[in-house]
């Protein structure tokens, strides 16, 4: 530190490497917890009487899906909050969640025999993913003016598109018969149940590709830091604001779209994970982005473990648990932040 600065000593904070290690260890702990808990107890004891199969074909893909979903939602939350310069932003703002819901709703209620015949059980996931991408692209397109996207405009267009998609979903709910309505309702509540290796592998691949840029290239994180100063200030500092916006939106659309297509709507994770990281380790996006991946994964794993075990042999929807864990955690964090200030 320079001679000048040493007159004002910096308050002690654990280094980023230590926090990173702690985060990875916590995630491993959550994975172990998720793997060992479940309605099918004592896997090791009855490994040869069906326990091995339950582990490999039911619990393991589900835990992996939980990690993938948590990372996708956490990182996307961090990217969106950085892009909108607002800690209350959430990936749903750009229409990706409501687009997926609309795609799923159309598939459930109206159906598309051509796709259903060719894709079978994959049809619903494909429809939801396509819906997410199309609605996000529409939001992006409508927010462009003179070749540029202003964030405030993107926010307003996103609100309008979400409202429109919501109305369309309401119409679909009205047109649905009893069975379709229940399918739609449960899809909207979100669940990791029914996760199987083929679908989970494809989803993990898409998410890994989508998140490779923000997670492994610090340049994107540094640019998001500078973006906090404002669009014009960032431009003056040499940040290609339009490119940063495009990268963020593509990453979020692909990763959240893929996850929502498989799991349904999961609330709170995208909002909560970046907040937690900022409280623990500061607002530098080089830390917030990977940190949100870790914390998001932990949150989803914990919520899913609860969903599977609290009312066994039945199961609670995932969204209920993320809310139950997330809401008090959020309030606690705000309380602690106010106390620190």
């Amino acid at each position: 530190m320079s001679a000048l600065a040493s007159r004002w000593p910096r308050p002690a904070m654990p280094s980023n490497k230590v926090m990173g290690l702690l985060g990875v260890l916590t995630l491993l702990g959550c994975v172990l917890l998720a793997i060992s808990q479940g309605a099918y107890g004592l896997l090791i004891a009855n490994w040869h009487q069906g326990g091995a199969e339950v582990f490999w074909h039911i619990r393991a893909p589900r835990v992996l899906m939980g990690v993938v979903a948590g990372m996708a939602l956490g990182v996307s939350g961090a990217l969106i909050q950085g892009l909108f310069r607002n800690p209350l932003a959430d990936p749903g703002l750009i229409g990706v969640s409501s687009g997926a819901a609309l795609g799923a709703g159309l598939m459930i209620v109206v159906g598309w025999p051509w796709l259903g015949a060719r894709a079978g059980p994959w049809a619903l996931m494909v429809a939801a993913f396509a819906g997410a991408l199309l609605v996000t692209a529409l939001t992006w397109r409508l927010a462009r003016r003179e070749g540029q996207v202003q964030i405030t405009r993107l926010l307003l267009v996103g609100i309008a598109i979400n409202a429109g998609a919501g109305s369309a979903l309401g119409l679909l709910s009205h047109l649905a018969d009893d069975e379709q309505l229940r399918s739609l309702t449960f899809w909207l509540l979100g669940s990791l149940g029914g996760s199987q290796w083929p679908a989970v592998s494809v989803c993990a691949l898409v998410v890994a590709l989508a998140l490779s840029l923000p997670l492994w290239h610090p340049a994107q994180a540094r640019a998001l830091n500078v973006l906090s100063l404002g669009d014009t200030s960032a431009q003056m500092l040499g940040v290609n604001v339009q490119a940063v916006q495009r990268v963020c939106l593509v990453c979020v659309a692909l990763s959240v779209g893929a996850v929502t297509a498989l799991v349904g709507m999961v609330a709170f994770v995208g909002l909560l994970a970046p907040h937690a990281v900022r409280l623990l380790a500061g607002p530098d996006h080089r830390v917030v982005i990977p940190g949100s991946a870790l914390i998001g994964a932990c949150l989803v794993l914990l919520a899913d473990t609860g969903a599977r075990t609290l009312v066994a042999p039945a199961e609670l929807p995932l969204g209920v648990l993320t809310g139950f864990i997330g809401a008090p955690a959020f309030v606690l964090m705000l309380h602690r932040r106010a106390a620190l200030a």
Partner: protein, 257 residues
């Protein structure tokens, strides 16, 4: 070493926002940009900094028009300080100042480590070094942002290209002592060869510290030249509609009635 513009004109929704046929500002001087509200001062500043993409070809910095400059190289040689100092997340003061170094990632300064503290000291904000930015007062935030733009144009000693500081009302949130401190700082910076273009509302402040003053009205530069020659009561009455008279104290102050 100069920043200049040629046939710079900007129209939006039928209104003429800027009409500057020719402009040439040498570096190493403090230029004050004055004018009533809506005269186009901020617009001219944005155009000269390159924010207005449509007229980037008409602005020339160091011999090249703005649209020919590489975005990061341009950022390393000219900084714009705007009026909005809000930052959404709880960054520390050092984080903010360090953001000014973003364009220099490829060519760091030999004394990069000390830059943050040096710039903060120049801006009179060194005592804020470990504070959180969002907890500062408006004036303190303004000074931290000033340190940030100073850090932005701090280039390696072997880079001799002209550097420019464009400031939009930097004294707006500051108390009397800090207003003068900032203006003194700008003179020091100009003495090191940096070109300074600052929008001010206080004519006396401009008269005390600026080498040259440009008076704008309705998107045009009405008058340009040394303060003593330009800032006359007749001009003030014509442009601002305010009656004043020169008072012969020190650097020729204006007293308003």
């Amino acid at each position: 070493m100069t920043i200049g513009a040629h046939q710079l004109s900007l129209h939006k929704a039928g209104r003429c926002l800027l009409d500057v046929p020719h402009l040439n500002l040498p570096a190493g001087q403090v230029h004050a940009l004055l004018g009533p509200n809506g005269a186009g001062k901020s617009t001219l500043l944005k155009a000269l900094s390159g924010l207005e993409r449509t007229v980037a070809a008409q602005v020339v910095l160091h011999g090249r028009s703005l649209d020919q400059w590489d975005i990061l190289a341009l950022a390393a040689h000219r900084a714009l300080l705007e009026q909005d100092h809000r930052v959404p997340f709880d960054f520390h003061v050092t984080d903010i100042v360090r953001m000014g170094r973003y364009p220099h990632g490829a060519r760091p300064h030999p004394r990069e480590v000390d830059l943050v503290s040096n710039c903060l000291q120049q801006a009179g904000a060194l005592h804020l070094l470990h504070r959180r930015y969002d907890q500062l007062s408006g004036g303190e935030k303004a000074r931290v942002q000033l340190a940030r733009v100073l850090a932005q144009i701090e280039v390696s000693p072997d880079d001799h290209a002209a550097r420019w500081l464009l400031l939009d009302e930097p004294t707006a949130a500051l108390d009397l002592a800090h207003q003068h401190a900032v203006m003194r700082l700008l003179r020091e910076v100009a003495a090191q060869g940096v070109g300074v273009l600052v929008v001010l509302h206080d004519l006396n402040l401009a008269a005390a510290y600026a080498d040259q003053v440009l008076v704008m009205n309705d998107g045009r530069i009405d008058a340009q030249g040394p303060c003593a020659r330009v800032l006359q009561p007749e001009l003030v009455a014509r442009i601002w509609g305010v009656v004043c008279e020169r008072v012969g104290l020190g650097q020729g102050w204006l007293a308003f009635s």
